[in-house]
């Protein structure tokens, strides 16, 4: 039991760092590999929320509140971004009746 509790003791900033790095990487991979707009949006949200987790942890770690306030800014911006993004998606869906990104190949070199 003592040993188990000991392992809790070491939940330090680097654990948050790894967690958020992993979440961020999952988000990046999702953006690069998925072909559905909505899944890509979700992956972008995951990237932003990985950043939020890390900011909150760093804020606590540094004993400074400004990191948490920045999280609010990121959340608001993410909401605005999603509103615009979904509106774009609806606009495209009305024209092509699909959410597959490969359907959009009008512009290429």
């Amino acid at each position: 039991m003592e040993e188990l509790m000991g392992s809790f003791n070491t939940i330090g900033i680097q654990h948050y760092l790894f967690l958020s790095a992993v979440l961020f990487s999952i988000g990046v991979t999702g953006v690069l590999y998925r072909r559905n707009f909505i899944v890509i949006f979700m992956s972008i949200e995951l990237m932003l929320n990985a950043v939020n987790v890390l900011l909150a942890a760093f804020s606590r770690f540094n004993g400074d509140q400004s990191g948490q306030v920045f999280v609010f800014f990121i959340m608001v911006v993410a909401a605005a971004e999603v509103a615009v993004g979904l509106a774009i998606l609806v606009m495209i869906f009305r024209n092509i009746r699909s959410t597959d990104i490969n359907a959009l190949r009008n512009l290429k070199w």
């Binding site: 707009f37 920045f70 800014f73 615009v84 774009i88 998606l89 606009m91 495209i92 024209n95 512009l107």
Partner: protein
Amino acid sequence: MTTLVLLSLLGFLVLFLGAFEQKKAILPVVIAGLSAAFVTNALSWDTSQTFYGMMRYDNYAVSFVGLMIFSVLMIMLLASYHFRNEDSHIADIYALMIFTLVGGLVMVSYASLVMLFVGIEILSIALYILAGSRRMNLSSNEASLKYFLMGAFASGFLLFGITLMYGVTGSFDLLVISDYVNGNEELPMLFITGVLLILIGFSFKIGAVPFHFWTPDVYQGTPTLITAFMATVVKTAGIAAFFHLFDICFSAIDGVWFNILWVIAAATILLGNVSAVMQNEAKRMLAWSSVAHAGYLLIPVLALNELSASAIFYYTAAYSVASISAFAVLLGISQFSNEMPVDQYKGLAKNNPIMTTALVIAMFSLAGIPPLAGFFGKYFVFVTAMESNLNIAVIIAIAGSLIGIYYYFKPVIFAFNQEVPPIEKIKGNAAFNFVLFAGIIISLIIGIFPDLLANLPGN
């Protein structure tokens, strides 16, 4: 700060003029408001105020904001010509452009990384909508979506970099970060990762190789008017924000980013120019040329000495004026059409001498032919680079410019083509001709008297 408040209120006012069907009043209000903002901005010269440690409105900010307001004013005049027969969403488009300008203002005057992020997002979110402003046009939709995805993706990288930097230094304040960088011999790995992530984020935003792949598609699909906006105002804000951050915070640790940025700049110049040569679409060619210009603009960032700020300012000014003229001519020729092959310029010299003059001046200025503004822009950039012994970068840039001459001359040669019967006569209205005249005259004046702008951002 007065300028910021004024512009935000102007945006709201225009939005409501549109919502309350006062269509006649919109254009005068926009022009009066932007002129007033230009004046209040000019009045803050040499006052250098800091607001709660979040924004610092110094001469650097004043010069770039002045340039951006001027560009927006020109584009608004073009918009009044472009949308002369169609007025359904014009107020919203004007308002979004003004909000974009507000974002650009924040981006060149931030003193904290929080404001950098907020500025970039204000600018970007309004632009995503503008890129898709032709709702029924599939190309516009596609450009909007691509721009949105790339913009949000880049914001993620930028944010992760900012966060790592905050974790190490404990502050978002540029001066605190700069003190930390100068006070520590050995920087933690996290900080260096943060610098590189921010570098990637910015490279995405300004469209530098290898993060440029969205630029040609987005520029081509976006309505031409908005493309002009992206190529001038957005590029100015992006590069000014980029330089501001690196100048204040990271000048002491150039070992970390110098080689990477060097390769990015060189690749951007070469790839941008070579790809532009291969284009048959005029708009796509201008898009690739704007990629190449982003490369030239990265050279003063690379040099990072006391001449850099003024070189960037002069270059962006020359480039913005020439680009607006080039896009104005393109807009005049193609109107709402999406197809813009380069040979569309055929016979232009016969039927519209003003547009032809503007085209020639703009293309020569972009190519860097003396005595036009573009030549001195390149000259100042090269002088700045030589000051820091970046000789190879200068050679690459000169090689890029030589390639550039080829594709910038293509539209001009087509314009003077005598064989084809002239296309139907294009008539611009007063606002349109004013923009063309302004482009010609300013390119000539700041080219012949480069001292007018050469020392503007000061030190």
